[in-house]
Amino acid sequence: MSVGAARTPANLDAIVVGAGHNGLVAACYLARSGLKVLVLERQPYIGGAAVSRRLYEDFTYSNCSYVCSLLRPEIIRALELPKYGLQVIPYEGGCTMMQGGGHLAVYDNHDALRREIARHSKRDAEAYDRYSRDVIRQCKFIKPLLMREPPDPTSFKPRDLKELLNLGKRFHGLGEQRMYDTLRFWTMSAADFLDEYFESEIVKAHFAGSSIIGTALGPRSPGTAYVLLHHYMGDIDDTVGAWGFARGGMGAISKALGASFEASGGTIRSAAPVARILVRRGRASGVALADGEEIHAPLVISNMDVRRTFLETMDAKDLPDEFVRQVKNFKIRGSSGKLNIALDGLPRFPAIPEGSPSTRGDMHVTDTIEMMERAYDDWKDGRWSRAPYIDMLIPSQIDPTMVPDGKHYMSVFVQYCPYQLADGPWDAAKRKAFGDTVINTIARHSPNFKELILHAEIRTPWDIENEVGLTEGNIFQGELTMDQLLFNRPVPGYAQYRAPVRGVYMCGSSTHPGGGVMGAPGANAARAVLSDLRMAH
């Protein structure tokens, strides 16, 4: 990656602050439409939370985000990411292991999963048909909204009214009964929603898992049901629901985006931390780096979360008081941790039959919704879950390029882990204790797991904040709760990617439609920038 002021081009059109995947997506779209764009990244490497890093010998860790599923296919196509080296390898299964041995295998294929569910409950196997039909229906309803700028319901502008009408039309198009179903789906708790379909605890627990990842809510909290969509929203080559690994780790996505960006004339400067966004006469004039260097451009697009952008890199006097108050009230709570583990070999999981594809996908050990809810209660009390929900994968089985021969890499996502502990700040001892909690949780299901561990990187929300810059280590740059979605994201009245200061834009996951390595906020923000430019001319 090119480094150094030397290569900072003159008369820039736009500066993107932060080379996370959304920053890069926005930068690509702007560069492709002919703008002169500079991307500034604080770290010596690009990618933000979509990175591949070598932290131990020749092992490559996807040490933040770890699976590829939400990246919008239209973005992959438009930015020609495959041409720039992105290769996504789908994985076809996963499993949830049970406390008393036994497991629920999970297959991408509906009928295969249906047969597996029938092993646990015939009734649930039938309910599963109803369930996936209903959830996919909700997916189809919401999908078109992802790549659109949310309307402002308080505005009378033609565009907003048109969008609202559009939304109303789509909603009305569902028909009366579906409208009621939709109303309930978007406001229910995952636990209540699943109770309406299934009886088997393991089946409910398996589905509920995706509803709590990254959120500071439990499966019984209203508004968690819709997060179940994530399981179905995943979209590789348009096969609904498929998930996969980026060959070479999640960094491969950022690398491809970076290459695509530079190929269309853009410049990236890494190790260039932005200290301030400069405002002159009420509009953006550029940025000042930590070392004092000033770089000027009429457009500044921030990939940082809104707290960082407006409370830490901008001057409150340049912003409306109400806006600042709202940004302070925006909820960004850390609730997830991560372990990246280098393994001397493939761990055994007695619960899973030899040669089953289940170990090649995402593995879980939480077999009741109550366990998840109790894990959440721990978070509320300001401690990490004593029996955490974990989402564990061994990508090296599918992508050997990540590890030396015969070795393996395991990625373990952990829910819940607080940013602030009730008993004082994080320290090395507490971090280790947290890591041990997770490792022991896994070891209970894999007898030889512990002796295979060569190295483990333990990341608390506090670490994630300090390294990636995500406030409180919240992986979505702000909670995905009812009050922070659509026209409320990040704050009411400013959900259209435009900051209150002319020339300043937001393109991070703090904006609609939120987090996950999706790229939609970046693409939508770029569209907003370009439409404003067109108006100007």
């Binding site: 009621y180 406001t187 509320k380 709760t481």
Partner: protein, 527 residues
């Protein structure tokens, strides 16, 4: 059961003489229908009744404060002329602290014991929330519209809701749309410092709800309560003379005066169906009563699954009904005291209002955690009233009654209420003792009724005083279930008028009134 020959014939038969059933019956009778109300209990009132719980001591068996019945409805019914007297109106609230540094919130919004910052924030918060409440109040009192119909009435109703929210102006509308889906914990944390104030305000959001303050949707439940009070003309917390039962006695008199007949001790066994219409009811005695219209104030599960029977309904509808979440979480504690209780730092006057034991949001949340795992709260929160301070007639001279709503007490607990009741009673008494030292020594009679007990006493499935959780997914046009949200049901001639319908429980009477209007306008065959 042998069905004897039909003995009576009415235009309308109303199942249940709770406040909603009586309000509905009065309206139907006033419109000229011949109306019979059949009540299983031996007195009217249902969960809004007064009864003796210890020799010489009487108490409101369920709800113990009135604050939600619309002023218009009260006037319409002329309950005063039918004998209703108020022992107290506009009662204040005192948030108790073990040490006695209590917080008193006056009905008019005055608060004693707050920091300057909080006092200012509270005034602003109260004004704003009342503005929101006023905007939502009309939607709360009207029949909820159906979605996606070509009926202009429905479309108009939806537009009206939208318009009332828009009329708030951009800034307020944005704020309402933001906080509407929030949890009350975050909202209060955004606004206040004082833990006691937050605890007290948070309590009203979870009172009778299957929620803790951190559950999203608790701002909605708070707004629901405030909107109800707004529709009630903000007369505030009131206590009828003679307990809540007196209110329903007055309602029964009003219904009689309008020409309706009320029969107590008459338990409905089934709803008669003739072809595709409800045709009356059969009592457990075997007596059958025919009517053109049957209006049930029983909860939806009881009405559809027990009294009507699933075989008369389509599978999808039955599934929706069986999924209604209707398990109560509030217990009622009744104490007979041989002297006036004295709570730390609580004045004589504050005993005439309501006392809250809800010292902080964290405290409520921890109390709620237990519910999720089938346990009762080890440190419960309470709404305490001492009705005898305003109405000595409820107890022998010089003695007192303490009536408290105690949360959380799930409908079912792991260990079973058999042994659980004694332990929960002990927990509740211990909690009270810390706020009112010496109270226990003055107890001469005690009663704890859990949701399971209330189910027995009031015959509402789950013992839930709202006949179903108040939550986004059981609200407005999806309450109790789509297809019955406008008080009509898929069964011709069968209507709902209970708390299971919009706008829900709390002694409000709106469901009863709306149901009557629907019967009169939407069921030509009812007369």
């Amino acid at each position: 059961m042998t069905v004897s020959a039909i003995t009576h014939r009415y235009d309308c038969v109303v199942i249940g003489a709770g406040h909603n059933g009586l309000v509905c019956a009065e309206a139907l009778a006033r419109a000229g229908r011949s109306v019979l109300v059949v009540e299983a209990g031996n007195q009217v009132g249902g969960a809004a009744s007064t009864r003796e719980f210890a020799p010489g001591f009487r108490v409101s068996a369920g709800a113990h404060l009135a604050h939600l019945m619309p002023a218009g409805l009260l006037r319409e019914l002329q309950l005063e002329s039918h004998g209703l007297k108020w022992a107290a109106r506009g009662m204040g609230t005192t948030a108790l602290v073990p040490g006695g540094a209590n917080l008193s919130l006056g009905h008019e919004g005055a608060v004693l014991g707050l920091s300057a910052a909080d006092a200012q924030a509270y005034a602003a918060f109260r004004t704003r929330m009342r503005r929101f409440a006023a905007a939502l109040a009309p939607a709360l009192s009207r029949v909820p519209p159906r979605l996606g119909t070509s009926d202009w009435g429905d479309r108009l109703a939806l537009l009206r809701i939208g318009w009332e929210i828009r009329r708030l102006g951009r800034r307020d509308m944005r704020e309402l749309l933001r906080i509407g889906g929030m949890n009350v914990y975050d909202l209060l944390e955004e606004n206040f410092e004082s833990a006691v104030l937050k605890g007290a305000l948070g309590f009203d959001a979870v009172l009778g709800a299957n929620f803790g303050p951190r559950s999203p949707g608790t701002v909605l439940t708070l707004l629901y309560r405030l909107a109800g009070e707004s529709a009630a003309g903000d007369s505030g917390l009131s206590q009828p003379a003679g307990g809540m039962g007196a209110l329903c006695n007055a309602l029964a008199k009003a219904a009689n005066a309008a020409g309706a007949t009320v029969r107590t001790g008459a338990t409905v066994a089934t709803i008669l169906v003739d072809g595709d219409r409800a045709a009356g009811v059969v009592l457990q005695s075997g007596e059958s009563i025919s009517a053109r219209t049957v209006v049930s104030s029983a909860d939806p599960k009881t009405t559809f699954l027990r009294l009507l029977g699933a075989r008369h309904l389509d599978a999808g509808f039955v599934r929706r009904v069986s999924h209604i979440r209707s398990r109560g979480l509030a217990a009622k504690l009744h104490l007979a005291l041989n002297r006036a209780p004295s709570f730390n730092g609580a004045s004589e006057a504050s005993l005439r209002g309501r006392l809250l034991i809800s010292p902080s949001l964290q405290h409520i949340e921890l109390a709620y955690n237990h519910v999720k795992y089938g346990e009762f709260s080890s440190a419960p929160v309470m709404e305490v009233t001492v009705p005898t301070c305003n109405d000595p007639t409820l107890a022998p001279p010089g003695q007192h009654v303490l009536s408290a709503i105690v949360q959380y007490a799930p409908y079912e607990i792991e260990e079973g209420w058999q042994s659980g009741r004694r332990r929960f009673m002990e927990t509740a008494l211990e909690t009270l003792e810390t706020y009112a030292p010496g109270l226990r020594s003055s107890v001469v009679g005690q009663e704890l009724s859990t949701p399971a007990d209330m189910e027995q006493e009031f015959r509402n499935a789950g013992g839930h005083w709202h006949h179903g959780d108040l939550a986004f997914d059981q609200f407005l046009m999806v309450r109790p279930v789509p297809g019955a949200a406008q008080y009509r049901t898929p069964m011709g001639g069968l209507f709902l008028c209970g708390a299971g319908c919009h706008p829900g429980g709390g002694v409000m009477g709106v469901a009863g009134r709306n149901a009557a209007r629907q019967v009169l306008t939407r069921d030509p065959e009812s007369a």
